[in-house]
Amino acid sequence: MTSRLPPQPGEWINREQPLDFQFEGVSYQGFTGDVLSSALWANGVRVLGRSFKYHRPRGIYSLANHDANALVSVGSRTNLRADCLPLEANLQASAVNTLGSVSRDHLAIMDRFSRFLPVGFYYKAFHTPRRLFPFYENQMRKVAGLGRIDPQYREAATAKQYDFCDLLIVGAGPAGLSAAVDAGERGLRVILVDENPHPGGSFTWQWRRHAEALERCEQLLNRVHALDNIDLRVGTLAAGCYSDRWVALFDQQRMTKLRAAAVLVASGCFEQPAVFQNNDAPGIMLGSAAQRLVHRYAVQPFSQGVILGANRDAYRLASDLTTHGIDVTAICDLRPEGESSPAGTRVQELGIPIYRGYTIYQAETRRRGTQLTGVIACPLDRQGDTQPQAGLSLPCDGVAVSVGWAPDAGLLYQAGARFQYQSAVEQFVPHTLPPGLFAAGRVNGIFSWADQCIDGQRAARAAAIHLGHPDITEIPTLTHQGTPPSHPYPIFPHPEKHNFVDFDEDIHLADFKNAHQEGYDNIELVKRFTTVGMGPSQGKLSNMNAIRILARQNNATIDATGTTTSRPFQHPVPIGHLAGRRFHPLRRTPLDAWHRQAGAQMAHAGAWLRPEYYGAADERAQSILAEAEHVRQRVGLIDVSTLGKLQVTGPDAAEFLERIYTGRFQKQSTQRLRYGLACDETGTVLEDGVIARLAHDHFYVTATSGGSGSFYRELLRWRQLFQLDVQISNLTGQLAALNLAGPDSRDVLKELTCIDISGEAFPYLGVRVGTVAGVPATLMRVGFVGELGYEIHVPASSAVHVWEQLCETGRPFGLKPFGVETQRLLRLEKGHLIVGHDTDALTYPAEADLQWAIAQNKPFFVGSRSLEILQKRPLMRKLVGFRLKDTEDKPFPEECHLILDGETIVGRVTSIARDSTLKHPIGMAFVEPRLASPGSPLAIRTAPGTTVTGEVCSLPFYDPDNLRQQ
């Protein structure tokens, strides 16, 4: 059986290109240009999907890209809306959320139980006894949900695109096209988007038989195509409108992020359902859906239909369908006065019976609800209440509903527009629009195509004026003429309760009554309790009726009842398009390739990749210890290029550093280093590093790898606040830094530099500028690892050269590279803390035994006043070193294991090493001060019920007299 009509003017299908496809395993044929819904309907398939809760059969309802009951899976893709899924050759689709098949869904039994499952039923049961809830929840989870995801599905990332324009116009219908031409002819750069594959909007389905409208449409399209500055993008959804007119556009391939100087929304309206018994049966659809089927896809919506109407559109629809050989058996007009316009007269002339003041009371079906056989119409009394006893039976296989419209206003709401209910049109219309935002056409309450064209021009001119174009003749605002296009209350109760308000979520009229009875009497509460509007179509077909119902229940106006907040997105959009290609910054030092070649185990440290150690992954502990031993005994080389490297210059440089750091720098000699400790305003340890004075007004400062970026930023702020004459440059990326350490380091280095590096000429904590391996370098005598050592800072571009020269020269000394983990072990042996590792977000200097770094009697540094306060109160914890006593047969402590005193937490391990060059395990821990003196035993909890005993010892563990680094 086929419902395909003879070729229609302007149809979207290409009859030259037939396509074979399958739905639920059955083969069908359609055409290129069809969507799955139209192709199936053409093949006589009436059940396209099953509803969410009761698994009722559903067909085409809106055919406006939001039929949320006809969701299908195609291969790994799921939850695809069949009414906007383009037909492709050999497409294999099946309905989501069915047990069995869409035509015989075993879960349809849920419908029989629907009387036991009223709104919010799940809040009232299943929770006692508590142990049964997981079982019930599991069952509910299985029946809820729509499509099934394919865990193996992968997709190549799509690049996002950026764009900008003077005026974005959303919707290429009469208003949008007219606006585009008006703005385009004025020279504005216009982007005109429409989510459909063809432009024209209502021209392409509602006004197809109207010669004047068709001519206008063609003229407008010709102008749009002729003007180079109008960029028409069909198949493009404006999905969200954000701050400062930042708009997300989606097409099949990608997301485009568009900055528009002005946005004109001509998105139109969603036609709205009437609520009557079985109003969801396949074959019952919106009038606009029937016309879309006919004119876009040349498909007969039904052969014998009843129209439920409440506006002029219903009468135009009747004539339209009749012209296409469809038998319109009756119009039931909710309005007692009927339609007096020429459109009404024409229908009378066609001999179609018109029942004025009638509604459809219920639809009759057979074959378990899959086939519509007729409707029972009944008169409405003066209050608009149904009189079912006077009902009459009208046989039909289809119903077209034309009772009203709701604005497609999502973008306007998101952009900050405010709406007001206007009884002249019985719909919400924009009341105030933020600057740069404009609305035209049906969304603005203008319903005749000719007026929509004028309204489009009006809005385009207002936009041009907003954009500063001179000499523009404004067009006065239009208002709707004639009877309202929407009925104020197309909603009718029925004792059997299958009169659906929300098709996505299977919510019927009584659910609203019941929710209200329970006290859910605010539109947001109604939404949250009944879930109205929360389904895949986000209430496009239900929110307006829900508001009408609630307003009546509350005896309030529509305005006072209000709307729920509109949120992005306009239609559901894929995560993949939103994500696009992902960019994640990763920093590699200039020596990265060398490290890899040398077999380094690389690890992420903040944004950086750094060598942990060199050697096999399964020889971690041995490798680290061997590297450490080598540094202690001979010489090692580590890449410390990740260190923050800041240059501070200017007459006030020393003064500035004294305000930032806890120490003193005014009297620091040139060519000398000092330790620098910085706190934040609350006295918390923020940063540490060394501060080298290269000249009276020139300091070179190192900072931690992880914190230097934000530290630099803070320095710039303090500089501005202090108003000191100082310049700060972040040289972190420009310079590489290498640390040559070990007893033989001097002998290695002296081969490569002309600087006198003898102990007398270049002592510990000295700094020199010169060359190393022919490259300009800054040399610093530091002792982080506790050995004689030189930190060598060179331009990043020369790092490999210098590193290789050092390796080469060091070969006779057995020089070996070492990694960060080795450095951590060495510094632990030396008792040096690492900020952020041994300190936390609330550590202040006294706790970390850094009191020595705070200059006394300094008038001010950042955090000084807070430290004064903190230092007055008893210390709560102290960072100490410890060694382990009994480790045999017990789990070894790890960093962050707790230290207990009975049941009380008295501390925490911050650093630990099982193997050290000291031949015994060592660690650092925060402990309560009473446990901080050397010799105190520490009970370290290493497993439930198990403690290992440590003993506090004085720091450093290694070379307490600092002889090695001199």
Binding site: Y242, S243, D244, W246, K257, E681, T682, R713, L716, R717, Q720, L721, Q723, F860, S864, R865, S866, E868, I869, K872
Partner: protein, 88 residues
């Protein structure tokens, strides 16, 4: 994405900026007792209204002040800090 105007670089997308919190004029530590200082350091003016805030244009390293309505997300003006303009 919002647009913010850097006093040196003009209007730029907000992704290029870092928010630096409420602008607080420098205090004289000597003038405050311990509790007052504790409050000054931690407490903020978080209530709705037009606030003076620190913003940082990351690409150019520019700190500046923005007067912004934290209810409407509307920026009234932006300018570079000077003691005269900042501390009044």
């Amino acid at each position: 994405m919002k647009i913010l105007t850097c006093p040196l670089n003009g209007p730029r997308p907000i992704q290029e900026f870092h928010y630096g919190g409420e602008f607080r004029p420098p205090l004289d530590p000597a003038q405050l007792n311990d509790a007052d200082w504790g409050q000054e350091v931690h407490h903020r003016h978080g209530e709705p209204g037009v606030k003076r805030e620190w913003w940082y244009h990351t690409a150019s390293g520019t700190w500046f002040i923005a007067e912004r309505d934290n209810l409407q997300d509307r920026v009234i003006q932006t300018y570079l800090y000077t003691p005269e303009r900042g501390n009044d």
